[in-house]
């Protein structure tokens, strides 16, 4: 494990003075307070912290699925806090791959169709989409299960399909929210190894929220959040 200060590569994500709060009735609850840090390209970052510390909120802000109250998030040089909802949707489609705790696969689509889904927003032909989706499934070693529906796959396999879906558009960053949280130990290890491989072999930048120290152990950088403040 190393800190970002020691990483020589330029930052792909730059977060400056980021704050976020929620309103609950008349109360305003601060979730993130003045967060500033950077993530280098090709870095595998783990965000840790107790429940309610704001790590998922921070992940959402980096991924462009939530809006900050103050501060900025620059990803690949683009200040995503200044983008409109429609612009953000297009930006996410091109730049972010999502990996969720509960996989979030479409149950009525096969593994292949789930992986193909993000490519529908591109200009690729059907043949090209097939090529990309099959390649992504090969990377996660599930090409032989491409016609299976999520219900016919184990949790680990479903998560690998979700990872294939996340990488199929070749995004700038991958965000993973508790990717091993719903998996047994063996499956979790498989998924973590796969993510590690994505970083090492394909140069992907991964930002992962986790409670699991073993998962965090795979990351290059671990950052801790405590009550909305970065503590390490």
């Amino acid at each position: 494990m190393t800190s970002d200060m020691e990483n020589p590569t330029p930052p792909i994500v730059e977060i400056s003075n980021l704050s976020k709060s929620y309103r609950r009735g008349s109360q305003i609850i601060s979730v993130l307070e003045d967060i500033t840090f950077a993530i280098a390209e090709g870095e595998f970052l783990a965000l840790m912290g107790p429940s309610g510390s704001g790590k998922s909120t921070l992940l959402n802000l980096i991924a462009g699925i939530d809006k900050a109250d103050r501060g900025s998030v620059r990803v690949g040089g683009v200040d995503i806090t200044s983008l409109s909802e429609a612009e953000l949707a297009g930006w996410r489609a091109a730049n972010v791959g999502f990996i969720f705790q509960f996989y979030n696969l479409m149950p009525v689509l096969t593994a292949y169709e789930n992986v193909e889904l993000p490519l529908l927003l591109t200009n690729l032909s059907r043949k090209e989409r097939r090529k990309h989706a099959e390649l992504a499934l090969k990377v996660v070693n599930l090409i032989d299960r491409m016609e299976h529906y999520p219900s016919q796959l184990s949790g680990g396999q479903q998560q690998r399909v979700a990872i294939a879906r996340a990488i199929v558009t070749d995004p700038v960053i991958l965000v993973a929210d508790e990717p091993t949280g719903d998996l047994d130990r063996v499956s979790a290890e498989d998924v973590l190894q796969l993510m590690d491989r994505l970083v090492r072999e394909f140069g992907k930048t991964i930002i992962m929220v986790t409670h699991d120290p073993r998962a965090a152990g795979k990351a290059h950088v671990v950052r801790h959040l405590e009550k909305g403040v970065l503590t390490a």
Binding site: D66, A93, V96, F98, Q101, V108, L109
Partner: protein
């Protein structure tokens, strides 16, 4: 193509719920179609009325007769091409359950005024030349197995007695909408008997049918006929056949309006049921919509998925409802022929059924679409687990 696949598969994720919704829509569309058909048929007589025919009746009421002597005076009114007349006979065949309309008519001009009754010339001649002859519609003949030459006996109600007729002709309707369950016999036969049994009621007719030379002159001719008999013992009321028919229909208009309202209520109810189904569906799929949005899919895509599924389900229900409408209409026409001798579903009703089914789908999808399209991704994802 991908979205069509997704829509179809989504539609059958909860098979029982989908089949129940489809069944509900099918039954509603069937009911809607049948009620609309009923209302349409109720007005069919009015719609099919000839523009060149006038009906003259006693100005006081239809139940009061007019003298037969009016015939020649009506014939002399400018614009009148031909005149015929008839009486409602109201005879009963076997018993009241075997009701069918039967009239005493002046045969020659009457049949000329009704070209929609297609009768072979030799049968028409045979009818005209047989005082006890009668003609019936094809459906009526088929129902009772009557052939040319069959003896038909009716029990008179207005004019008591047992009346014997010889079937001389079986007419066909020019189209499906023409009534084929009517019996007509010679007015002279009725009148001769009346002269013997109740002479005071002889030489009187229930109504005159007038053919005009030009439909545009119908109003003037009607006024002139009524003017001719003004201040007589039996003043007349002449109106177009359409107005005459409308007079009957308007007596039951409140019932028709009630039926129309019920048909719309049926649709509103199924709309609410379908909307509830789609709302449940959308609520369950909020995380999926949120996931799609994370990938960059927009509200429009979510709308296509929700609207597509909703319209797909209701359209299946609509098509099934339409398919069931035909055998149901056939069953009514066969089994309830004395009330609905002609119960045919019009193409317009079918189109209306399908448009209504689509409308149900669209309306049912509005709220779920709005919900799916506007939900914040973070909120949507939070529902998982």
């Amino acid at each position: 193509m991908f979205f069509i696949k997704l829509i179809i598969r989504n539609a059958f994720r909860h098979r029982l719920r989908t089949f129940l919704t489809i069944a509900g829509v099918a039954v509603a569309i069937l009911a809607f179609g049948m009620l609309r058909t009923l209302v349409g048929l109720w007005y069919l007589g009015v719609e099919r009325s000839s523009a060149t025919r006038l009906v003259t009746r006693n100005a006081i009421s239809l139940i009061f007769p007019l003298p037969i002597s009016y015939k020649d005076r009506i014939r002399q009114v400018p614009g009148v091409k031909s005149v015929s007349y008839g009486n409602w006979f109201g005879g009963i065949y076997i018993d009241e359950k075997h009701f069918f309309a039967n009239y005493a008519i002046e045969p020659k001009n009457y049949l000329d005024l009704y070209p929609e009754f297609i009768l072979p010339p030799e049968q028409k001649e045979a009818f005209i030349h047989d005082r006890k002859g009668c003609i019936v519609g094809k459906k009526l003949a088929d129902k009772y197995g009557w052939k040319i030459g069959s003896l038909i006996s009716l029990r008179g109600t207005i004019v008591p007695g047992q009346w014997e007729f010889v079937l001389r002709g079986i007419y066909r309707g020019a189209d499906r909408g023409t009534e084929e369950r009517v019996m007509m016999f010679q007015w002279d036969y009725l009148n001769e008997t009346m002269k013997k049994t109740m002479p005071r009621r002889a030489d009187q007719v229930g109504y005159y049918m007038i053919g005009v030379t030009n439909p545009n002159l119908a109003a003037e001719v009607a006024q002139e006929v009524d003017r001719t008999f003004k201040n007589s013992l039996a003043e007349t009321l002449t109106e177009t056949e359409r107005a005459f028919q409308m007079g009957f229909v308007s007596m039951t208009e409140a019932i028709m309006i009630a039926i129309q309202i019920v048909s719309y209520i049926v649709i509103v109810i199924i709309m609410v049921v379908a909307a509830n189904t789609m709302a449940m569906t959308a609520r369950e799929r909020i995380p999926e919509y949120a996931t799609l949005k994370t990938m960059g899919f927009g509200g429009m895509h979510i709308g296509v998925i929700v609207f597509g599924e909703s319209v797909f389900i209701t359209l299946i229900g609509g098509v099934l409802g339409v398919l069931f409408t035909f055998p149901a209409a056939q069953w009514i026409e066969t089994e309830l022929s004395q009330f609905f001798p002609f119960f045919s579903v019009s193409p317009a009703t079918i189109y209306l059924d399908l448009i209504t089914a689509c409308g149900i789908g669209v309306v049912a999808a509005i709220f779920p679409t709005w919900r799916g399209a506007t939900i914040r991704i973070a909120d949507g994802l939070r529902r998982i687990g």
